[in-house]
């Protein structure tokens, strides 16, 4: 049986600071076109796992491969679009929406290359689909939470990525904007075939959006489709308490 190809392989990865393990023996694969939700308690290692996959942290043990190549020698890192967790303190920076979105294409362009017509077109398209084109001249600090979130998605999409990695993108975003945002993500996944990895504190959202779920509490607690995971047993393992869960849709 041949399914979609594997795009991310995480093999036996462990990471920690000074005897304090954060990730232990993590192994899983992500296939092309997958929509993977990652959940787990605070301090469970979700963001750390993303940073290892992005090469921002080097694991003490194990390895990560992107499209079959070891991460250290993988040159086209711009195929991964990254939407980091944000804090409000960054927004004093004088930069317009357009400048921020353009900066998302810098790595793909490479050193000493200037923005060509093709790049301008790509930037224009992502600003249209993320609905930030009308905000282009606004400063990043003048935006609402929802608008800012769309700008950071646009920046991540500006490099025409194949994989999108989002770390708690819905913090500080109101509910109606959140609904729109998740249907937009779903479209990217089903329409454009983008592979999505999403961390969210909102288990409900993850269970309804993602097509597979990875539960992380320093170790891999479970990995599978939402229906496998939504048993009280796993929730207790993860959060140490009984959580009732209702699954609909899908």
């Amino acid at each position: 049986m041949t399914g979609p190809a594997t795009c991310i392989e995480v093999r036996d990865v462990s990471f920690g600071y000074a005897g304090n393990p954060i990730l232990q023996d993590i192994t899983f694969d992500v296939r092309e076109g997958e929509y993977l939700g990652i959940i787990g308690p605070n301090g469970g290692g979700k963001t750390t796992l993303f940073k290892v996959i992005l090469g921002l942290l080097v694991p003490q043990k194990g390895e990560v491969r992107i499209y079959g190549e070891p991460l250290e020698s993988f040159r086209k890192k711009h195929v991964i679009g990254y939407v980091p967790q944000r804090s409000l303190s960054d927004y004093y920076f004088p930069a317009t929406v357009e400048e921020v979105v353009r900066s998302g294409r810098t790595a793909r362009l490479g050193l000493l290359k200037r923005f060509a017509r093709e790049d301008a077109g790509a930037i224009e398209r992502v600003m249209e689909v993320t609905d930030v084109a009308t905000l282009r001249k606004r400063l990043i600090g003048q935006l609402s939470g929802g608008e800012r979130q769309r700008v950071f998605i646009a920046r991540a999409l500006a490099s025409d990525p194949k994989i999108l990695i989002l770390d708690e993108p819905d913090v500080g975003v109101d509910v109606s904007a959140q609904e729109k945002f998740y249907s937009f993500l779903e479209n990217l996944n089903t329409g454009s075939g983008l592979t999505i990895l999403l961390i969210s504190h909102d288990i409900d959202v993850v269970a309804h959006q993602a097509r597979s779920i990875l539960c992380l509490n320093r170790r891999l607690v479970c990995h599978g489709p939402p229906k496998d995971f939504i048993t009280e047993d796993y929730m207790q393992k993860l959060y140490g308490k009984k959580v009732r869960f209702i699954l609909h849709g899908h």
Binding site: G55, P84, P94, A107
Partner: protein
Amino acid sequence: MAFEIFELEFMRRAFVAGLLISIIVPVIGTFLVVRRYSLMADTLAHVSLVGVATGVLMKTNPVIAAVIASAISAVLIERLRGLKKLFAESVLAIFLSGSLAVAVVMISLAKGFNVDLLSYLFGSISTIGSVDLYLLAALFVLVLASIGLFYKEFFLVSFDEEFAEAGGVKARALNLFIVLLAAVTVSLAMRIVGILLIGALMVIPVVTARQFELSFRNTILVSIAFSLVSVISGLFLSYYFDLASGGTIVLVSLAIFLAAFIVNRPE
């Protein structure tokens, strides 16, 4: 006659040097201010003083010694910051006060201050020689060419270092490059405004431009405009009213900042 000032050789030199400096200093300053690294300019200036003292003691060119001293410190500062064991501002504070201590001890070894050293501390346009001008012209080309070639990378690492690295951009090397450019700029610009005031010229025009809530590119361009106005009018005022040039330039830039702050004050 109003323009008799230009009949004097040393004033012509001062204006050329001032123009070159007032264009490149705020460009570098913007990249420092936006990442809350304003103290870097002052730190590098104090390190430059160690270079100057070394130059005076060893009877070599103090400006070149200052460039070397501040470039070495820039590398060390970035290394220490990269370890993430200390706050960036603590690293700067250590270098700032530490280098001042070293310089003071060296000066005492040289049996006290002399006029030459004071001219570095407060700037002295009357002592700018043709070597200084050539060095400044070379720096001008270096800074503008670097910004022209690496603008998109410099913007990216200044705005979001982690995102840059995640995309495979060499953020640490680019950071080091920016700080090295700052080091060389500070050491060469100190001849005009002085070690104690160069930080002001690197930061105030940028903070003034920031009041107008412009794009990054326009913040740089407007800060150059404010810096040009400050340096040119500062030089005129200092000449006609017989004032210290460095202090006058910085006071003009402060006056512009105040005006901009009042015009753009929150409702």
